[in-house]
Each structure stands twice: as structure tokens, then as C-alpha cells.
């Protein structure tokens, strides 16, 4: 029976052959993707700045300080603020309390604010930090997510004038923003970069705190500009027929709130600056929208793309007749469809500015030419490494029949890894290529262990060394029971040797793999490829390639 026929019956060898074939197909079909450092482009590493905190403060005290009030009383769902003298009618709106009612008395004014305590605290933080603040009611006590760079100390200093503080304890203040905020920021970036028509952008989140952006074919200065520059947002109002006129640009939008289902329909609330509110009122009156709101669509554009269009709401139309309004809501409809649309619109509105303060903590660029050079050099290095290893193996065993299977096994291990990378669509970066060469190193180590175990068996090396390789091979073959005499039965000696070899291999492979595990999360993803390719390479090698190699080399040694 030929070597090929015998081997084709062994399931380990068959599995190995199948996996290698699949890997080659996968590489051919999907192709390999290369990382930024091999393709050229630039990267930005952004830190999302923010913190979550519990806050101990009485809302009445906040209102008292904010309005300079003589007294604040809580009546059910609302607060009544008594302010001496005459109060500026826009003050409540400015502080973020829309819909406040002002009643003028003889020498004092009463302002009625409908709000819950959390809203008052949120408004206070927003106003004083000039940043977005979100309430997290999913935990008890409630926490406030502050989307800018704050410390416990700075927050306490801010709360001191209103007699508030962050309660003591580790849990009361944690740096970092929530999962939702991170996802939202990523979506905004994704949407923005995609809309700009940039190819091959990768936006990744690391540690829930960092966002990494890879921009192919762009230098780092341009990349910073693209990411940092807000989209061009414009609101227009329909005049006659299909004509429309400009109302305001993105800089007039002061803040955008998380979508919420108000009065049965989903909407995205947003706040305009004072001048913008006046401009909006003027445009609504001039276009005639306040009289016949259903004929006058309000449209929003982002970089000339229409992202929202709906008639002016009747209630708003009638209130605009009298006074400008700063708080508005873009309503998109009810139900699940409305919810999805609202989220989309929210992201578009947000493209003017990211939901959370970011700081560029690291960046860089590699040119395409240099990337190609690196790629070429790494391929050459890999081949030289393989040849050097082959030379070492030949030097030791003086047998082509051992060198060839060893080098091909090592080579096919690389093919299997590349196959997985192609299938998964993962990028190969410079570090991953270095990882491949490392796997060649450990892989051959283990093939050497198998070969030596099979050839030397249980004999002490001193006596074995005196015999020639051929004698040892013949002996191994006999013990292996894979020679001409006994094809079907595997001898116990052979199995014992293979299993001993695999004890060593498994131990070594497991240590290499676990030592690499922490690297997966280190360096903001810079070493993820390196660690992953080593871990997967070691597993593939140990589970698929090396058992098959054990069989093949056993047969080869036997058919002498």
C-alpha cells in the first residue's frame, strides 16, 4: 500500500488536508485585508471624556440660587419660585426650563416651573459645565452622566454654592461614560465618515473609553480636520410652492436631546440660541407659516442632504405669532418606526458636535509606499525564517524526509491562519505578521518534540545517540506498528510516545496562549492582532496540524 493511501485513511490527516484546502479557498475567495500600517493611511485615538456621579443636592436650593429667589416652594409636580422685583421673561428659558409660567405681582414675580428634581439638577449641571448631562435612572440611587472632563473635586466645587456635593464612597463617582454613550458616539462618527464618502474607515471602541479611527489614504492633519470638523447643518423653511429660504445654520443649535416619545409621537428635542430663536420666529412669520403651518415645511439639511422635513406644528405656529421659542422638537412619527427614525435624526443632528467631549490622545500616519515596503520585507523575512529553520532541521536530522514534512507543516499552519483571517475579514497589520513568524518558531519547536519522541522513544539518549538515525527510524517504525507487517494495529509504544509528546506540546501551547491573553486588551488594540494570531495559530497547530504531522512522520519513518 502506498504512503498516500495509508495516510488518506487517517482521520487526523484527512482533517488536516481538508482544513488546509478550505483555508486556501478562503484566502482565494475573500482575499487578505491588510492593516493601516501596511496599506497606508492615518489613525486617530480619541478618549471619550466623562464621568458618572451621584449627586446630593436639594433642587429648591438650586432654583433659589439660579433665580436669585426669595423663596422656592414645591407644589406637587411643580416648583413655585418667588423672585423679588421684575424678572427677565427669558430667564427660565435660558436656564433650560421651557414652558415656565411667570406671574407678576406687586413687587415680586412668581415663576411656576413644571419639573421633577432630577431635571433641575440636570439643567444646573448642563448650564454650569456647558456640556451634555444624561440622567441614568436604571440604577438606584440615580446617577448623572456628565459628558465632559470632570473630577470629583471640580464637581464638588461646582455644587458648593448650591449646598450640594457628590456623596463620599468609591461608587458615587466613576470616570468614563456609559455603554450607550460610547455606542452613540461611535454611530455618530460612523455616520459622519460614511456620509463624507470615505472608503475603508474603521471605527473601533476600546475599553469603553477610547475610540480608534483608521482612515485609509489620508494624512493625519487631514484626518484630524475631518473628524473634528462638524457637518454643515442648515434649517430651511418652505415659502411658496417648492421655494424655500434659509433660516439658520448648525452653530445656532445649542443642544440636542435624546429622542423621547412625547404625546404619542417620537421626536428629537433641540434648543436654539436666543438670536436663532428670533430668526426662526421672523422666518415663520415672513413665510406665512404661522398662519398656514400645513403648507410650510421645515426642512433640515446636513451637508446638503435632507435629513428631516415636516410642516410646522400648529401649536408652535400659534405661539410663534406671539414670541420666539428656543426649545423645539422635530417629530418623526409614532411606534417602532418612529423610534428608529428619531434615533437616526438624532445622530444626524449630533454630527455638528459629538455627544461627548473627546480628546485626541494619539495619532499617526503611514504612507502607502512605506506600507508596501513593510509588507514586502515581512514576506521576505518570513521566507528567510522558514529557510533558516529548514536549514537547522536538516543540520540535525540529515534527512530530507523529515525536513520536508516539517517545513510544509509549518508553512500550512501559516496558510490555515491566513485562511481564518480572510474568512473573518480581519486585518493583518505589521504586528500580526510578526506574530505569524513567532508561530512558525513555536510550531517548529513542537514538531521537533514530536519527531524526537517518536524516534528516540523511551531509550535514554546516550545509547540512542550512538545509533544512526536509520536504525532508530526502523525501530520506531517497528514499534509504531505502521510498517509493512501490521498496518491495522497501532502499537501501545507508539501511542504512549505520541501521547507523551502531546502532553509536552499541550502544556507548552497552553502557556504560550495564556501568556498572550492579556495582550488582547492592551495598547488600545495595537497588539490585538499579534496576540490573536499567536493564540489561534497555536490552537490550530496543536489541534489540527501537529497530530497529522505525528501520523505522517510516523508513516514516513516506517516506510524505510
Amino acid at each position: 500500500m502506498s504512503l498516500f493511501e495509508e495516510l488518506s485513511k487517517d482521520r487526523r490527516v484527512v482533517l488536516y488536508a481538508v482544513v488546509v484546502a478550505l483555508a486556501i479557498i478562503s484566502i482565494g475567495f475573500f482575499g487578505l485585508k491588510f492593516g493601516l500600517d501596511l496599506e497606508g493611511g492615518s489613525y486617530l485615538q480619541l478618549q471619550l471624556q466623562g464621568a458618572e456621579a451621584q449627586i446630593d443636592v436639594t433642587p429648591e436650593k438650586i432654583l433659589e440660587v439660579q433665580f436669585n429667589a426669595s423663596s422656592v416652594e414645591k407644589h406637587g409636580q411643580s416648583y413655585v419660585v418667588t423672585v423679588p422685583g421684575i424678572v427677565d421673561p427669558t430667564l427660565a428659558d435660558d436656564l433650560g426650563y421651557s414652558g415656565a409660567k411667570i406671574a407678576k405681582g406687586d413687587n415680586s414675580s412668581k415663576i411656576t416651573i413644571i419639573a421633577n428634581p432630577e431635571t433641575i439638577i440636570t439643567n444646573f449641571l448642563k448650564k454650569n459645565l456647558d456640556a451634555d448631562v444624561q440622567l441614568n435612572v436604571a440604577v438606584a440611587p440615580v446617577r448623572y452622566e456628565i459628558r465632559t472632563n470632570v473630577t470629583r473635586e471640580s464637581l464638588n466645587a461646582l455644587l458648593a454654592p448650591v449646598g450640594g456635593k457628590v456623596p463620599p464612597g468609591e461608587d458615587a463617582f466613576t470616570l468614563g461614560v456609559s455603554q450607550e454613550t460610547v455606542d452613540e458616539t461611535k454611530k455618530v462618527l460612523d455616520s459622519k465618515l460614511n456620509r463624507l464618502g470615505l472608503q475603508d474607515i474603521r471605527v473601533r471602541v476600546v475599553d469603553n473609553k477610547y475610540i480608534l479611527i483608521d482612515l485609509a489614504g489620508m494624512d493625519v492633519a487631514a484626518a484630524q480636520e475631518v473628524v473634528g470638523k462638524p457637518g454643515k447643518f442648515e434649517i430651511r423653511i418652505q415659502t411658496e410652492n417648492n421655494e424655500s429660504m434659509h433660516v439658520l445654520y448648525g452653530d445656532a443649535v445649542e443642544s440636542v436631546e435624546i429622542p423621547d416619545p412625547r404625546n404619542g409621537g417620537w421626536g428629537v428635542p433641540f434648543v436654539l440660541s436666543e438670536e436663532a430663536a428670533t430668526a426662526f420666529q421672523k422666518a415663520a412669520i415672513d413665510s406665512g407659516a404661522t398662519k398656514r403651518p400645513e403648507d410650510h415645511y421645515i426642512s433640515m439639511y446636513l451637508d446638503k442632504d435632507e435629513i428631516f422635513s415636516a410642516p410646522l406644528a400648529p401649536e408652535l405656529a400659534s405661539s410663534l405669532q406671539k414670541a420666539p421659542s428656543r426649545s423645539m422638537q422635530a417629530t418623526v412619527g409614532g411606534g417602532d418606526a418612529g423610534s428608529v427614525k428619531a434615533k437616526e435624526l438624532y445622530i444626524h443632528l449630533r454630527e455638528g458636535a459629538l455627544p461627548v467631549n473627546v480628546e485626541v490622545v494619539g495619532s499617526g500616519q503611514v504612507s502607502a509606499a512605506l506600507g508596501r515596503q513593510f509588507k514586502l520585507q515581512m514576506v521576505i523575512a518570513g521566507l528567510i525564517a522558514l529557510m533558516a529553520v529548514a536549514g537547522m532541521v536538516y543540520y540535525r536530522y540529515r534527512e530530507r524526509r523529515i525536513v520536508l514534512p516539517m517545513v510544509t507543516t509549518s508553512f500550512f499552519e501559516v496558510v490555515m491562519m491566513l485562511g481564518i483571517w480572510a474568512l473573518a475579514g480581519w486585518q493583518l497589520d505589521l504586528a500580526s505578521l510578526a506574530g505569524i513568524i513567532m508561530v512558525i518558531g513555536t510550531g517548529v519547536d513542537q514538531l521537533v518534540i514530536i519527531t524526537d519522541e517518536l524516534m528516540k522513544g523511551g531509550d535514554p539518549a546516550a545509547s540512542a545517540a550512538e545509533r544512526s538515525i536509520k536504525e532508530r527510524a526502523a525501530e520506531a517504525a517497528e514499534k509504531a506498528g505502521v510498517g509493512k507487517v501490521a498496518v491495522a494495529t497501532s502499537s501501545k509504544v507508539y501511542l504512549a510516545r505520541v501521547s507523551r509528546a502531546f502532553m509536552i506540546i499541550l502544556g507548552a501551547a497552553a502557556t504560550t496562549a495564556v501568556a498572550m491573553l492579556p495582550l488582547l486588551g492592551m495598547g488600545f488594540g495595537a497588539l490585538t492582532g499579534f496576540a490573536l494570531i499567536i493564540i489561534i495559530g497555536v490552537i490550530l497547530g496543536t489541534v489540527i496540524a501537529r497530530p497529522a504531522y505525528g501520523r505522517i512522520i510516523g508513516h514516513i519513518l516506517a516506510t524505510d
Binding site: M378, M392, L430, T442, T512
Partner: protein, 297 residues
Amino acid sequence: MELEDIVSKYPPKLIMLVPIAIIILALISLGATYLATGSPVKLGIEFTGGTLVTVPSTESEENVTAEFASYPLVDIRNVGSRYMLQFGPMSESQYTQLAKLANANFDSPEIRHSGPIYSKELQVQVIRYLPLSFLLMAIVVFLVFREPMISLLVVICAIADILIAAASMNLTGVQLSLGTVAALLMLIGYSVDTDILLSMRVLKRKGSVDEKIKGAMGTGLMMTGTTIAAVFSLIIMSNFLYLIVPSFTRMDIIADMSTVLIFGLAADIFNTWVTNAQGLRWYLNRPKKAAVRGQKR
């Protein structure tokens, strides 16, 4: 072979003084650097924060330096028809200007910039993850052998390898970068390989300890030999070839990694076949009950 003689010629306790002395020397080197700089090895720009710009240029060093005169240039090096410039910390807007300047005046420069937040976070990560790697490795080793003393020897050898490799970084001027951290962790894998082979052979086979150690040595030296051959080709490719073939370029990350690995592998030969082997000789050949248990397995 001379190396094999060492295995059995001298009493283990006497030979063990050599690795102990070497580990102490490594610790002195790391300690001295720590006292001088505040960290046991020299930190690269990823850990200190700063900017690295590599520009292709055939002009003189003075001319290139002059181009970047208004930025905090710390170091300039010629790396084969390219200049590598290292800058100290600067403001974000200054960095943007620098990036624009480099892109305008040179054909496709390479830029790497780490801000203070990034580098601080990276330092925290290394301090957190490096011991974690060791811990995981130690757990696996203990699971494999289930013999505290044998496992401890393996772990000690891995630690010794890393310490020596780290000390060698101070000698060769290789800085700690993400690449070299990866290389140090990789050494754990390479180091434990041969130690496991040695301990398995000694524990699971019949015969005298010295004979078994010599038997394992053939396989183990071959293993480390092939790895050194692979790493050596990386060193040549990343670090020296550009000196001969001008179109090739230096690959910093690979050059640094392979330098650390080659020293670590050399240390591994020594630690496996002296430290670990002598430890096993001493442990298994010591008189009375415990030795019998060792032989039985």
C-alpha cells in the same frame, strides 16, 4: 559536548550560584536604571508621550534638523535614506502644524504621536497586564505538573529569562515599546516550552536524572536553535538589511522585538539547561522520601 558535561560534573548547589549571580546582575542593571530614570527600562515614546516622524530624505542631517527647528526635536537618526526624528511633548495645535509641515515638505512621511493620556494609560496597562500574564502562565504550569517544586522551577526560569532580556534592553539601548512588551510576553511562551520538555522527560521517563537531562538537551537545544534562526532572520531583515540594500527600510517595531527575543532566547538556553536542570538534579537526587516520589512519576 562541553555543555553536557556541566550537567553532571559539579554538584547542583555550586552551579546554581552562577544563575543566581546573573539574576542579581540583571536586577542591579534594572535597579540602577530605575533609580536613574524612574523605570527599570528606558521607555519609548509610546510610554513617555511624544512624536516620532520618519521622513525620506537624501539631504544632510543639518538640513533636515533645520526644517524642524521650531519644534522640540530631541533626537535625529539616519535609518537608510530616511531620517527618524523624535520630538518631545508639544501642544495639540503645534503637533497639527508639525504634521502639516512634514506632509508638505517630504514625500509620505511616517508619523506616530502619543499624547500624555495615552502614554499614562499604557503604563497602567503594562503594570496591570504583565503580572497577569505571568499569573496565567504559572497557573497553567501548575496544572500541567501538579508538583509545586517542579512547577516553581519552571516559573522561576521564565522570570529569570524575562529579567535578563529586560536587562539586555538597557545594555543595547532598546526602549520599551508596545512591540517590546509583546516580545517579553512572547518570551514566556518560548521559555516555558523547553522547561516543560525538560521536566516532562525527567519525570516521565526511566533512567538516571543526568541521562534524561542530556537526552532532553538534544531536543531542547534544537527547539531554541530553530527559534533563534527564525528571530535572527527578523533581525537581519529589520535592522541591518537597509544598510546594504538602500531601498529597504528599518522596521523599528520588528527590530526592537527581535533584539529582545534573541537575548531572551539566549538566556533561556542558560536557564533551562543550567538553572532548571540543576534544580531538578538537586530536587530529585536529594536523599530520603521526597526523591522516591519524584522517581515514581
